[in-house]
């Protein structure tokens, strides 16, 4: 049943739990890649008069790059709670299927399960592997989460100290994270489309078609609302190719 680790899963969990160093080595490059983005968020929040404590709170309780950046101007403009909730939920709706399918990897105790589920991010999802134990998943998510929170706080502090003229707008600080996420996505796709399938050509063709459909939807619906319909269509296309 969902959420109840198997005996082999537990054994693997204990084995991996004794080797957190190897899991940390896996998560470290991704954690480093999110640092510039969170630094930037902290700086921008400080410029919008957010205190270091408020940046710490939003990084700990909010923990979503796009959501945090989106709500910053909304808070400044005095938007209401439900507007903010609607925007944040729309941007992060992609986590619904991700959270559901990764729930089997989470610890069974409710408190730990909720905490590790909250620390789910795109980068952690792409770093995790299907056979990872609950302990490994916990280490991966905590590492990336901690890097995000600390960088946000440092950014908020820096935003108050660094003169505004030093902060140029022409450097894309988020690019390293995009590169790392692209690498991890391609690696995950290789594992899922090529190794596990007999029908490699048709799966690759279906993946290309799904990418084309996603591109059309992102242009039609925008980068916030395309996620759920696009993921569902891609799943259906891949399913037909595999049948």
């Amino acid at each position: 049943m969902k959420g109840e680790p198997t005996a082999t899963g537990n054994a693997a969990g204990l084995a991996s739990g004794r080797r957190p160093a190897s899991v940390l080595r896996r998560a470290a490059p991704t954690a480093l890649a999110v640092v510039p983005i969170s630094l930037l968020f902290g700086v921008l929040a400080a410029r919008a008069d957010w205190s270091v404590l408020e940046v710490l709170a939003i990084s700990l309780l909010g923990f979503t790059g796009s959501g945090q950046f989106a709500l910053l101007p909304l808070a400044e403009s005095g938007a209401g709670f439900f507007t903010m909730l609607l925007v944040a939920a729309s941007i992060n709706s992609r986590y619904l299927p991700i959270a559901y399918t990764t729930a089997v990897r989470l610890p069974s105790s409710a408190g730990k399960r909720a905490c590790v589920a909250h620390m789910l991010g795109d980068e952690a999802y792409a770093t995790e592997r299907e056979g990872d134990s609950a302990a490994s998943v916990g280490w991966i998510r905590v590492t990336i989460f901690a890097a995000w929170v600390m960088a946000g706080v440092v950014g908020a502090w820096g935003g108050r100290v660094i003169p505004a003229a030093w902060l140029g707008n022409d450097v894309n600080l988020g690019y390293p994270a995009s590169v790392v996420l692209m690498y991890l996505s391609a690696t995950q796709l290789r594992a899922r489309l090529l190794q596990a399938s007999q029908r490699r050509f048709s799966m690759l063709a279906a993946a290309m078609l799904s990418a084309g459909v996603a591109l059309l939807l992102i242009q039609g619906l925008g980068p916030v609302y395309f996620w759920i319909p696009s993921i569902l269509l891609a799943t259906a296309i891949l399913g037909r190719a595999r049948a």
């Binding site: 049943m1 490059p29 890649a33 205190s51 939003i58 309780l61 909010g62 923990f63 945090q68 709500l71 909304l74 808070a75 400044e76 938007a79 209401g80 903010m84 909730l85 944040a88 939920a89 992060n92 986590y95 299927p97 959270a99 559901y100 399918t101 729930a103 409710a110 399960r113 909720a114 789910l120 999802y125 792409a126 894309n172 690019y175 995009s178 590169v179 790392v180 996420l181 692209m182 690498y183 991890l184 996505s185 391609a186 995950q188 796709l189 290789r190 899922r192 993946a207 799904s210 990418a211 996603a214 591109l215 992102i218 993921i231 569902l232 891609a234 799943t235 891949l238 399913g239 595999r242």
Partner: protein, 103 residues
């Protein structure tokens, strides 16, 4: 803590409860076929959409540099030619180099 900041923090936490924490406690029964879709095909669909979203959002800013750099990174990763650190360094260098060359 002031009101708009508190509201933003509460909205993001409520979102996390809705989209990340609640699904982790859901226990739904699916047919073996639906389970296969959820465990195998849905994650692949998510990663395809990640890749397209990254390309799109970076190409809005720097079309050529982002397209070339991310395509190179994607191909290297898909063919398993280089590790994460090496590929990231290559991709980032290529991106900023192309921006400089193309002006």
């Amino acid at each position: 803590m002031s009101a708009p900041e508190s509201m933003a923090i509460t909205a993001l936490f409520a979102t996390s409860c809705l989209v990340r924490i609640a699904p982790a406690f859901l226990s739904l029964r699916f047919s073996p076929e639906a389970q296969r879709y959820l465990e195998r095909l849905l994650p692949a669909a998510v990663f395809i959409n990640f890749a397209v979203y990254l390309l799109y959002s970076e190409m809005v800013r720097e079309p050529v540099a982002a397209l070339v750099s991310l395509a190179v990174v994607g191909v290297i990763a898909f063919l398993d030619l280089l590790g994460l650190i090496g590929t990231a360094v290559l991709g980032i260098t290529l991106y900023f180099l192309l921006i400089r060359i193309l002006g």
